[in-house]
């Protein structure tokens, strides 16, 4: 069942998106936004999750989602007040839904009482006794007789209502089925089922529904073509089909049948009725078909066709259908019902089948139809990555071509030059376009944060407000995926250590509520994500003392304020007085660093005592292509990421000095910068005299600068990062490799990894 697995995978993907949406909506709701549109949105999301779960038979999830949905419905129409308590319950329940979904995905079985407490509260809140239609049916069921002629005005209420769990109840109250007791003897259930276009769009499959019905008893399914147009007007995506199902099992209740269709409520017209004799059904049918006849008369009848074939065909076509076309071609059951007249019976199994295979006609119809409503497709990230990689290679080949063109060639082959220029432009465009495919708004990560802050505020008894700025800033998906943990740690840190308690804040003359601002913006080739709080700032004295105590900083080492601030990122470092269950164990901030470094970013922290702390993540826009400066050191080419280079200068113009320890330092604009000679650092030799060499001033980890000495600066270019670990192992100071235009391998310098510890330096 690989196809089913595919559907499942899609469903789980959708679930995770929907859960994200839910979180977001509830975050807004908790902020006090009680817009009905939000409630509708959450309702829809839960409904969709439930719908898919039902189709795949995740029963625990269905049950939970159903109760959740019922509660939401009541909230929506005002029967249950949306108190803070209810919101908290809902937010908690989203977690549970996520757990259910996770369990279903991993094929795990959750404890049968998982989520029972919430379930009980749902039921309590929604006043289960009056409003559980399913249970009511079980007790009060009375067989009903359908009177199609009278349904006219009533039935449309069902399909036109919003996706609404109440439909069942509504049907029960409103329908005008005559409640006629049936004679003893043969009684059948007759189900009229007319799918709307949306039913297919939501990936429901009538075939599955019918199979499900089949589990209730012997079923006979008849498909009818409703309002089939003339062949030349036939829209391959239109809906011309309705079904009538006869279920031969007296012991089944109406609710049992309704339950089968639960997930397509609102996406179809459905009537379930009990009839006495076969004759009734037939005459109904006959009338129905006959009524269709005028519209369908130009069609050929092909009695041999199997209805399943047609069903499948229709589905396939309708998946891509355009909504309007579908609406036009559809005739509501109610309209039909009104027109039904008895007529001579054609063979029941006879089918009208459209000649769907004529491509010209499809084409003509397609051309006539408006632009399809499809706006997005789901693509495996792997496939996108393959394109990204290839475009990366293309960019490099193109820059190689460029390099190969000397002046002689340029003068001689002007057409070639023009071609290469166009190629360069197109490649650039292609690269941007491909990157845009991978780019996503950071919102998907940001949206998890309000909730985190809320929980943290609750746990720490602080009042914290989270402000988010620039959440629509787009960034590579891989980077986004890597952002969640670091951001969580940073916000935890701000909430736990940054923002003070309300009392302290008041005493310090600040407002009672602390603010954490989470912002994202694009700055050149980087994305800057900042977490800023208006708390107490880093207590430098304590940080330094702790660092000395733990040996992170030597007893005589003097550190600048910035350097002290950066210590919060040192592994195993925590300044919290007490270890809380939120943070303070000292794991976390070093995780931030390692995660961010892994994706080629950097972390900085700035703090003002009493005013607050600002932590800044600087991230690359993309991981695939890197802008670098190509240099030479010893006998090998090296590249240095352009993003970390501050400036370059010739050695004889640089002002070198010696620190008291004997280390060579570079003095630049009043700052002393550590000097690392790439040749000696990598234990190579060079013949280039010192004064002809170059200084590349780089910004290393935590914005501390480092001056690299190289033999030669060759130029800037773009490279694709290649892994060194793939076939070898990681080397200190090397971030990877890349392949230059001439096919040679150049090594990427890991500036942050180059920095030596003081011990290494004194030993050197």
């Amino acid at each position: 069942m690989s196809e089913l697995d595919e559907f499942k995978a899609t469903y789980f993907e959708e679930c995770s998106e929907l859960l994200g949406d839910l979180e977001e909506e509830f975050a807004a709701i908790e902020e006090g936004d009680r817009d009905t549109e939000r409630l509708n949105a959450v309702f829809r999301a839960i409904h969709s999750i439930k719908g898919g779960a039902g189709a795949f038979g995740f029963n625990q999830l269905v049950e939970f989602a159903h109760s959740f949905e019922t509660l939401l419905d009541f909230v929506r129409d005002g029967r249950v007040e949306l108190t803070d308590d209810v919101v908290t319950l809902c937010i908690r329940s989203i977690d549970l839904v996520a757990d259910f979904v996770g369990a279903a995905r991993d094929g795990e079985e959750l404890a049968s009482d998982f989520g029972e407490e919430e379930l009980a509260r749902f039921k309590l809140l929604s006043g289960e006794d009056e409003e559980e239609p399913m249970e009511e049916f079980d007790i009060d069921f009375t067989p009903v007789m359908v009177n199609v002629g009278d349904d006219d005005g009533e039935l449309p209420a069902v399909p036109t209502s919003d996706i609404n769990d109440e439909t069942l109840a509504g049907e029960d109250e409103n329908d005008s089925f005559e409640q006629a007791p049936l004679a003893e003897g043969h009684r059948y259930w007759k189900v009229d089922f007319t799918p709307h276009y949306e039913l297919y769009e939501r990936a429901n499959d009538p075939l599955l529904l019918f199979r499900e019905l089949g589990t209730l008893g012997e079923v006979e399914v008849k498909a009818h073509l409703v309002k089939t147009p003339k062949l030349k007007e036939f829209d391959p995506f239109g809906i011309y089909c309705k079904w009538e199902i006869v279920l031969r099992n007296e012991d089944v209740s109406k609710e049992d049948i309704a339950e089968v269709f639960e997930f397509v409520e609102g996406d179809c017209e459905l009537s379930i009725s009990q009839v006495m004799a076969e004759a009734d059904i037939d005459s109904d049918l006959v009338g129905f078909e006959e009524d269709m006849a005028p519209e369908a008369q130009t069609l050929e009848t092909q009695p041999d066709q199997q209805q399943e074939l047609q069903q499948e065909l229709q589905q396939d076509l309708q998946h891509k259908a355009e909504e309007e076309a579908a609406d036009e071609s559809m005739l509501s059951l109610a309209d039909l019902a009104a027109e039904i007249e008895p007529a001579p019976a054609p063979p029941v199994r006879e089918e009208n089948l459209v000649e769907e295979n004529k491509p010209e006609q499809e084409k003509a119809k397609k051309a006539a139809a408006k632009a399809p409503a499809v706006q997005s497709i789901r693509v495996d990230l792997d496939k996108v990555d393959r394109v990204v990689n290839m475009v990366g290679e293309l960019v490099i080949t193109q820059s190689m071509l460029n390099q190969q063109m000397d002046d002689k060639i340029k003068a001689q082959y002007q057409e070639l030059v023009r071609g290469v220029e166009v190629l360069a432009q197109t490649t650039r465009g292609l690269q941007d376009a491909v990157m845009a495919i991978r780019a996503q708004p950071v919102k998907s990560v940001f949206s998890r944060m309000p909730r985190l802050v809320r929980e943290l505020a609750k746990k720490t008894d602080k009042k914290i407000r989270l402000e988010m700025v620039g959440e629509y800033t787009e960034i590579d998906k891989t980077i986004i995926e890597q952002l969640s943990d670091p951001l969580t740690h940073m916000i935890r840190n701000s909430a736990d250590h940054g923002v003070e308690t309300p009392e302290k804040r008041l005493a310090a003359g600040k407002s009672e509520t602390g603010t954490i601002q989470l912002s994202a913006e694009q700055a050149g080739g980087n994305i800057i994500i900042a977490v800023e709080d208006d708390g107490a700032g880093i207590n430098r004295e304590r940080v330094l003392n702790l660092a000395r105590e733990r040996g992170v900083v030597g007893p005589d080492q003097q550190l600048s304020d910035e350097q002290i601030d950066e210590l919060v990122f040192a592994p195993g470092f925590s300044t919290a007085d007490g270890v809380s269950d939120i943070s303070g164990r000292g794991v976390g901030m070093d995780v931030v660093i390692s995660n961010i470094k892994k994706i080629g970013g950097s972390v900085h922290v700035r703090s003002k005592p009493g005013k607050g702390t600002r932590m800044i993540l600087r991230l690359p826009l993309t991981l695939a292509v890197l802008d670098v400066m190509l240099v030479e050191a010893g006998d090998g080419p090296y590249v240095i990421p352009l993003s970390s280079i501050v400036e370059t200068m010739q050695c004889d113009r640089a002002d070198f000095g010696f620190a008291p320890s004997g280390r060579r330092v570079l003095q630049i604009r009043g700052e002393y910068v550590q000097v690392i000679d790439l040749v000696t650092r990598f234990e190579m030799t060079t013949k280039v005299p010192d004064n002809k060499r170059f200084v590349v001033l780089c910004e290393g980890e935590g914005s501390t600068k480092v001056a690299l000495i190289v033999d030669e600066i060759i130029g800037q270019q773009q490279v694709v990062i290649k892994s060194l670990e793939e076939n070898f192992e990681r080397i200190d100071g090397i971030a990877g490799g890349t392949i230059l235009g001439n096919g040679e391998v150049a090594l990427i310098v890991d500036v942050a990894g180059l920095k030596q510890t003081p011990e290494q330096q004194s030993a050197a």
Partner: protein, 162 residues
Amino acid sequence: MEAFDSRDESGQEHDLESGNSMQLIAFMIGEQVYGVEITTVREIRAWSGATPLPNTHDYVRGVINLRGTIVPIFDLRARFGDGLTDTTKNHVVVVMSVGEKWVGMLVDAVSDILTISKKDVHKVPEGDSMDSELLNGIVTHDSKMVGLIDLDAIVVGAKIEK
């Protein structure tokens, strides 16, 4: 593939199927013949230089670009403690897979494809620690001694730990 000599290929497939024999690619370092199982060999190419890798042992000659992936090159002569190979264009890199990784071995020349019987493989005599460390066994072929190279042992520990 220029250094490829396949004169033995057709003649000696006798009991390959029985699983008792195996085929080796034999290559020369000076006068000494070494062999690796043919199934591990991915490619044979002429030496065309490598980008040196810092913080590695001398015998790691550097990395090359093998159609877009970076592959490290080990100088087998240096690995066996005989000093760095004085490379020319006639030297050969044998690219092999070691586990999941691809590595290249710099050798003087590829000499032959040998089919040997597994029962003819002898243990490496104790004594020379380098040989017993880097070889899986020794076979005699045409009255010449062929050392079977233990690729895992060659590759491990190439990085200088500080």
